[in-house]
């Protein structure tokens, strides 16, 4: 390894020398837009009246950029951009595949609707305390989590998301918010710390932090070389905690009903789904061996989460807390897909996550409109007369009831159908039964809320609402700002329900990328690796597909391992030298 002082350093061996093409800047643009947006709002902190409009503008830009990203991914396969021009396993890579781009796009859309709603819902005081910058920075963390290809970077985005969500949660400084925030903050911080612990173990075992690189290395390692069981279990615990899966879900119903309804809506829509996303990303893409080990455990967690969430929703008098339990139940449904682990099942999990993002946000927002009309009442016993006050709202809410319960023709139906089918095909009959049972209990819980809040004439103690206080009418400005977001979300839910194929094909492509990560890895490691991958793909198809299980994905990948190393071997020897 004699170096040569006379020659110029060969940068091409360790760095990407080709300039980044203009379109590739799109990959980093979503995080830049939101960070710069938040920073500029802080500079404009005395112009509070502009904050809402500017935030909606930045979020609209985010939607456009994410949509273009998704279109490009569907056309070209996974895209990558490595920071600082270092060769991929060394520089931090942002990698966009169909799953990440889809989740980022849906999140951006939901954030935009919540922002429009916030124009009516968030007071000037909250704005001065930094509601909108926190919202934008939370979107930075969420979008960053969806777009990163580096596991430590994922941790950093988690923390960005978390600290901003703290700000949103306590922005009004009410007693109830402080109480909720104590539980939310401590438990979420523990979850992300656990994530960091596990990442430390993974780094110790594998020696890399780049997800594609880890995926390759784990597949080339002999069985038992790395403590896969420990690492996968710890990731499962950490991300279950973030996602509020059953035994570690209690922070969610304790805190999600405390902030302003717009904040509850975006929390319910996005934060837990980032946990599910990270679970899918780590267990399915990075360490399928760990997922195979834990599939039964995940199945039990999924079933208990679904049933517990639905029963919890049934047991609440406070409707907002009832919704909190529904969020928990939805996490269970997505985890069913991770437990079963076939391509169909993962597709179902992704679709369910998309459905849950839209439905949960819309539910909170729609209920927020009712709360504006009835003077802030949220207990089931005090509600009533919603239909008389606004038939539109009651119809929108009923659509959401159906969508949350998984009834056709709304978006909740298809993912449940796919999940049940995939579970039955893999011999998880009881899991399919749990999906249906939780759907049934959810229908009862949600139907009861609709019947009490909208169908009956007035609260308990009034004869068909005759003596009930009339509900307020909203001024036309407020009405537009609160109804347009809900209508937009319901329109998307109906559209996905009636015509699921576009979202389905994106999810399916995302799932196939996760299970056969050749394209993902090739995107990170460049064209040399890509050539080898094509060879391996032929090989894989020649091998046949006797078993649809995840075990298959390990076969073809192991031969590829060495070739991927080729272009970075020299640099690698440095890092290995430390061991």
């Amino acid at each position: 390894m004699a170096g040569n002082a006379d020659n110029a350093v060969d940068f091409a061996a360790g760095m990407l020398v080709a300039p980044t093409s203009a379109v590739d800047w799109l990959i980093v643009a979503p995080t830049l837009i939101t960070i710069i947006g938040g920073a500029s709002l802080v500079m404009l902190r005395y112009q509070a009246k502009w904050h809402g409009y500017l935030t909606c503008f930045f979020l609209a830009m985010l939607v456009v950029v994410d949509a273009i990203l998704l279109a490009r991914v569907m056309e070209h396969g996974p895209l990558t951009m490595t920071m600082g021009r270092w060769m991929p396993p060394f520089g931090i890579s942002l990698v966009v595949d169909a799953l990440g781009a889809l989740m980022a796009l849906i999140s951006a859309v939901v954030a935009l609707t919540v922002c429009v709603y916030s124009l009516a819902d968030i007071s000037v005081t909250s704005t001065r305390f930094g509601f909108y910058p926190s919202l934008l920075w939370m979107m930075t963390g969420i979008t960053g989590s969806f777009l990163t290809g580096d596991i430590f970077n994922l941790y950093v985005w988690f923390e960005v998301m978390l600290i901003s969500s703290f700000g949103l949660l306590i922005v009004d400084g009410e007693r109830v918010q402080i109480d909720g925030a104590v539980k939310y903050a401590v438990l979420n911080l523990m979850a992300t710390t656990l994530f960091l612990v596990t990442t430390g173990y993974l780094y110790g075992a594998v020696g890399s932090l780049n997800m594609a690189d880890i995926a390759v290395r784990l597949r080339e390692m002999p069985a038992g070389a790395a403590p896969m069981g420990t690492i996968a279990t710890l990731y499962l615990l950490a991300f279950s905690m973030k996602a509020a899966a059953f035994p570690v879900n209690f922070w969610l119903p304790a805190s999600y009903h405390t902030p302003k309804i717009a904040v509850s809506a975006i929390f319910a829509g996005l934060l837990t789904k980032v946990g599910v996303y990270a679970l899918i990303r780590t267990l399915v893409l990075v360490m399928p061996e760990g997922r195979d080990l834990l599939s039964d455990v995940i199945a039990w967690i999924a079933a208990l989460t679904m049933i517990f969430g639905a029963i919890g929703a049934l047991a609440q008098n406070d409707v907002r807390r009832s919704f909190g339990f529904l969020v928990v139940g939805g996490i269970g449904s997505s985890m069913v897909g991770v437990a079963v682990g076939t391509e169909d099942a993962i597709t179902g999990a992704i679709l369910y996550a998309v459905n849950s993002i839209l439905v949960m946000t819309a539910l909170y927002l729609a209920f927020g409109i009712l709360m504006r009309k009835n003077g802030g009442k949220y207990n089931l016993a005090d509600l009533g007369g919603g239909y008389k006050a606004s038939s539109w709202l009651s119809i929108l809410f009923l659509a959401l009831v159906f969508a949350a319960s998984g009834l056709p023709p709304f978006s909740g139906f298809w993912p449940k159908l796919i999940l049940v089918e995939a579970s039955l095909k893999e011999g998880y009959g009881w899991l399919a039964f749990a999906v249906l049972l939780s759907g049934f209990i959810t229908t009862i819980a949600m139907g009861r809320i609709w019947a009490h809040a909208f169908w009956r004439g007035g609260p308990i103690g009034t004869v068909d609402g005759r003596d009930a206080a009339p509900l307020y009418t909203l001024s036309s400005v407020v009405r537009h700002r609160v109804f347009v977001p809900v209508m937009a979300l319901v329109a998307m839910i109906v559209y996905i329900g009636v015509n699921p194929s576009p979202v389905f094909s994106v999810s399916q492509y995302g799932a196939s990328t996760l299970l056969k990560p050749d394209h993902y890895i090739a995107a990170v490691f460049g064209p040399v690796a890509a050539q080898r991958t094509v060879m391996n793909e032929d090989h894989a198809t020649a091998e046949g597909q006797e078993d649809a299980g995840a075990a298959k994905s390990r076969g073809p990948n192991s031969n590829r391992a060495n070739s991927n190393r080729a272009n970075s071997n020299r640099a690698n020897s440095n890092r290995e030298g430390a061991h």
Partner: protein, 125 residues
């Protein structure tokens, strides 16, 4: 050396978990502070320990002459320290504010968000 540090990491974790299981917010905060340090030490140990050789490439060479210490864990830890410090600062303020607003530092008594005597949902319909 890794063995000794591993045991130390274990002790740190044990202490922090013990503290976090307390009912009092101030002990939970102390537990979180210890937890952050436990994780940092864990990452440091995961990167393997090499005492003598800093990862510096001599002038005129393209690669380091021999095995060197691994610089990556230190970069990770630096990030983690900054994050855990800022979170701890936030949590301390939050805990103090909770004590002011709620009049207690006992989390079992913090029932504003989830009242203990909440009514059951109506059984009509």
């Amino acid at each position: 050396m890794e063995g000794v540090l591993s045991i130390l990491v274990g002790i740190f974790f044990a202490v922090s978990i013990y503290l976090m299981m307390s009912r009092y917010t101030i002990r939970i905060m102390l537990g979180i502070a210890v937890l952050g340090n436990a994780v940092n030490l864990l990452i440091f140990t995961s990167g393997r320990l090499m005492r003598e050789v800093p990862p510096i490439i001599p002038v005129g060479e393209l690669v380091p002459p021999g095995p060197t210490a691994n610089p990556l864990p230190q970069a990770l830890i630096l990030t983690a320290i900054v994050i855990s410090f800022s979170f701890l600062a936030f949590l301390l303020v939050l805990a103090y504010r909770a004590y002011q607003e709620l009049g207690t530092d006992d989390i079992v008594e913090m029932r504003v968000a989830e009242p203990a005597d909440e009514d059951l949902p109506p059984v009509s319909y």
